[in-house]
């Protein structure tokens, strides 16, 4: 019998290890346009200790390890570029603690967005977390380690800013803890110990996060979405500036898309509002829609479409329905809000050049500090030409992000390459040394963040 397979079975159990081609096939691709790469093994551990043993085995055998949450990044980040072991973390799905007073949840790395949302709604209805626009199966830790954002990004920032501590298995097998938990003081704060933020944005090349404490926020009983529409994209940055100034909104998203036709050529700005009472809701609506946006309405430049009670969570892209074959992938750029109109116009040009109905979305992060602007391209999974077309559009868009003065979010291999080319020499050297120091055998998700 294959000795690595046998060792993995010894660490976990037979039920949770596989080297069967039909199962490896499933793990060889994600839902985006990345070329498939087949792993050699897939293993699904249940404990941090099992992960430690698997990592030690991989070092001994010099075989790559690719940590995997739900595999929904779309950017090919968990496609095993050089084969090896896929570490499927979905079994580690315990919600260990929810602290209602300190407002945090301590979770394992396989807890999904839908799982925590349902758990909080049932047991702690006054608390919520910042849920991204991903399918409910997406894991919370997976989203945070790629610097994801959620529907509380506007008031509070990136999800990776909203953590109170983490536990990591290093590429050499040691366990490290960061935040107050590192001194056994509970999981209530990430600060003020020395900052060693080495695990976010590294695409699983610096370690495996096994536990995380995430911040929770008040969930007000009345939540809903107001929609404002403009036909001049140049107005969007100043409108966003005014909306964020009110400090009365939760999520703010601007979008435009060719399909369905109602949105074509227009910018829809959705504004989430939460309130404890009808009085508070009306007060906020008055400030936002009458006082702040009223001038655009009176001039006929913008229109209030109405306020809909209730939040559809998660708010998931429907772009995969636009073409036969159900595929879509997007480039997310972290952009200055002032670039909105250029992002929209140039994104539309790229889409039209590749005969793909355009879809663009900007989610505001912080009080207008930046936005995650997504250019989405639909493709037919059964048509290699259609996939190539989308991939070309994605690469052009990666270049566009950098050209417009933004930074590519969760870059795939191509995006990582063009970022590395622009990194300042000092940072480049430090990143190279960090990788070498943490992962001397180069086993962690190789192919990513290489070529410094």
């Amino acid at each position: 019998m294959d000795s690595i397979y046998k060792s993995l079975v010894d660490i976990v159990d037979k039920e949770h290890v596989s080297n069967r081609p039909e199962e490896l096939f499933i793990y060889s691709f994600d839902l985006g346009t990345a070329e498939p790469r087949r792993p050699d093994y897939v293993v699904s551990p249940a404990t941090t200790e099992q992960i430690q043993e698997i990592v030690r085995l991989a070092n001994r055998e010099n075989i790559p390890i690719v940590p995997l949450g739900a595999g929904l990044s779309l950017a090919g980040l968990a496609v095993p570029q050089k084969g090896g072991i896929i570490l499927d973390l979905k079994r580690m799905d315990r919600i260990i603690e929810v602290n209602e007073n300190a407002r945090y949840a301590l979770i394992e790395c396989g807890v999904s967005q839908g799982q925590l949302t349902a758990y909080l709604e049932k047991n702690f209805p006054r608390l919520t977390h910042s849920e991204p626009g991903a399918p409910p199966a997406a894991t919370i830790v997976g989203n945070i380690v790629i610097h994801g954002q959620g529907d509380l990004a506007q008031p509070y920032g990136f999800n990776s800013d909203l953590i109170n501590g983490l536990e990591v298995v290093l590429p050499t097998g040691e366990i490290c803890r960061f935040g107050s938990c590192a001194v056994d003081a509970g999981w209530f704060t990430y600060h003020p110990l020395p900052d060693v933020g080495l695990f976010f944005g590294w695409c699983g090349t610096t370690g495996i996060v096994t536990k995380m404490s995430i911040r929770l926020f008040p969930a007000k009983p009345i939540r809903g979405v107001g929609t404002f529409v403009v036909d001049n994209e140049s107005l969007v940055p100043e409108i966003i500036g005014k909306l964020t100034y009110t400090q009365m909104t939760e999520d703010i998203i601007a979008f435009s898309r060719a399909i369905p036709p109602f949105a074509a050529g227009l910018q829809h700005i959705t504004i989430n509002i939460a309130a404890d009472s009808e009085k508070e809701l009306e007060f906020k609506q008055e400030i936002i829609f009458d006082d702040t946006l009223g001038e655009y309405i009176r001039r006929g430049e913008g229109g209030f479409l109405g306020f809909t009670r209730g939040l559809e969570r998660p708010q998931i892209s429907k772009t995969s329905d636009y073409k036969k074959g159900g595929g879509f992938e997007y480039v997310g750029g972290i952009m200055p809000v002032e670039t909105y109109s250029q992002c929209y116009r140039k994104g539309r040009e790229i889409s039209e050049r590749h005969s793909i109905p355009y879809t663009v979305t900007g989610r505001i992060i912080g009080a207008g500090h930046s936005m995650m602007f997504a250019w989405t391209y639909a493709f037919n999974r059964a048509d290699t030409e259609s996939i190539k077309q989308a991939r070309d559009a994605l690469h052009e868009t990666d270049d566009l992000v950098m050209e417009l003065g933004g930074v590519i979010w969760k870059p795939g291999i191509y995006g990582q390459k063009i970022i590395i080319e622009r990194l300042d020499p000092g940072t480049r050297l430090l990143m190279k040394q960090v990788r070498k120091l943490l992962d001397p055998n180069g086993i962690m998700n190789p192919g990513n963040w290489e070529g410094f």
Partner: protein, 349 residues
């Protein structure tokens, strides 16, 4: 090109100028009303064009059948003074664009129910009332091929209606229907009132939804168990185009044993749902719409309504939740009728 048949002489002969003097949103005396309607008819600007909230009611108020509302909308478009901000107009214009291919045409050679742009509400046409009835526009992906376009009266875009409506009529006609039962008042108004006002041919007989329900209820009379609840009716703006059918609400209520909630804002005096008003350019429009809704719902409550019945999905969407919040059950007319014949409407709790 289709031209609105509007006769200024009728206005000159009119003694009441009810189109404007009865308006719930503009306060004018007879003299001012006459002056302004003449200005509008002659293509001049008038404050009426700027203050009209597009509630459709003047079509009902006009004693001369002279289509004052259609005229106002044409002038709003010509003088570029739509009540709604341009981005909302563009959005509405985009909304009705048919996409995702052509509809499948099956020949009916008989009566048919047209769901128009409400294919997603098929759950409202279930049960014995609709047994054996052919239905068109059942696919939400293609429903805009059957969209009557009259919504553009709210957006000062008569030109869009005139451009698109003949194609819609043609699509429906391809099914070779005899009678076309219109799920929504707006469609009925389009194929009767509006088409006639602009000289557009309609090669089938439009049937009002309430007329259909009433006739079916008569057939199923033996199954009716009186509702015995007080029911308020939320009259939609487009019912002003078919006011001659409004009496059917009472006929249906009488037949199903529902107690008609007599109230201030009823019949000719009805208040619209104010969904359109909230987005208009005029300062304070959002608050104004809330105030209208509050008055309307308070009136239902004051007069003991236990149920508020709707025929218009837009009204239901706009104030259904608010009605429910004060303890009045919102429901569609077809569901109320189904309840009366002992059926449990979908989603009924």
């Amino acid at each position: 090109m289709y031209e609105l048949k509007f006769d200024l002489e009728k206005c000159l002969a009119c003694q009441t100028q009810a189109c404007l003097t009865k308006c719930r949103f503009i306060k004018v005396d007879v003299e001012t009303a006459k002056r302004e309607i003449i200005k509008i008819a002659r293509g001049e600007d008038s404050f009426v064009l700027h203050e009209c909230v597009t509630c459709y009611a003047c079509e009902e108020y006009c004693p001369m059948d002279n289509h004052p509302f259609y005229l106002i909308v044409e002038r709003q478009e010509a003088l570029n003074c739509a009540p709604t901000p341009q981005p909302l107009i563009q959005r509405a214009v985009n909304l009705g664009v048919p996409f995702r291919g052509e509809p499948e045409i099956t020949e009916i050679n008989g009566p048919v129910l047209n769901m128009g742009a409400f294919s997603e509400l098929m759950h409202l046409i279930q049960g014995r009332l609709f047994e054996g009835l052919a239905v068109i526009s059942t696919d939400p992906r293609k429903m805009f091929h059957y969209f009557c376009q009259l919504m553009y009266l709210h957006y000062a875009r008569s030109s869009i209606i005139k451009e698109r409506l003949p194609g819609i009529i043609n699509t429906i006609a391809k099914h070779k229907p005899t009678d076309v039962i219109c799920f929504h008042d707006e469609c009925y108004g389009a194929y009767t009132s509006y088409a006639s006002a602009v000289g557009m041919d309609v090669p089938f007989r439009p049937v009002h939804f309430f007329e259909f329900l009433y006739q079916r209820l008569k057939v199923l009379k033996e199954s009716i168990k009186p509702i015995k609840m007080k029911v308020a009716y939320q009259r939609p703006c487009s019912s002003r185009l078919s006011h001659e059918k409004h009496h059917l609400v009472r006929y249906i209520f009488d037949l199903i044993g529902a107690d008609y909630a007599e109230r201030e804002y009823d019949g000719e005096n009805a208040l619209c749902c104010a969904g359109t008003i909230q987005g208009q350019k005029r300062e304070g429009s959002r608050k104004r719409s809330i105030e209208i809704q509050q008055r309307n719902i308070e009136d239902m409550k004051k007069n003991g309504a236990q149920i508020c019945v709707f025929n218009c999905p837009a009204c239901y969407q706009t104030i259904g939740q608010k009605v429910a919040a004060v303890g009045i059950k919102p429901m569609y007319m077809s569901d109320l009728c189904r309840l009366a014949i002992g059926e449990n409407p979908t989603l009924w709790r």
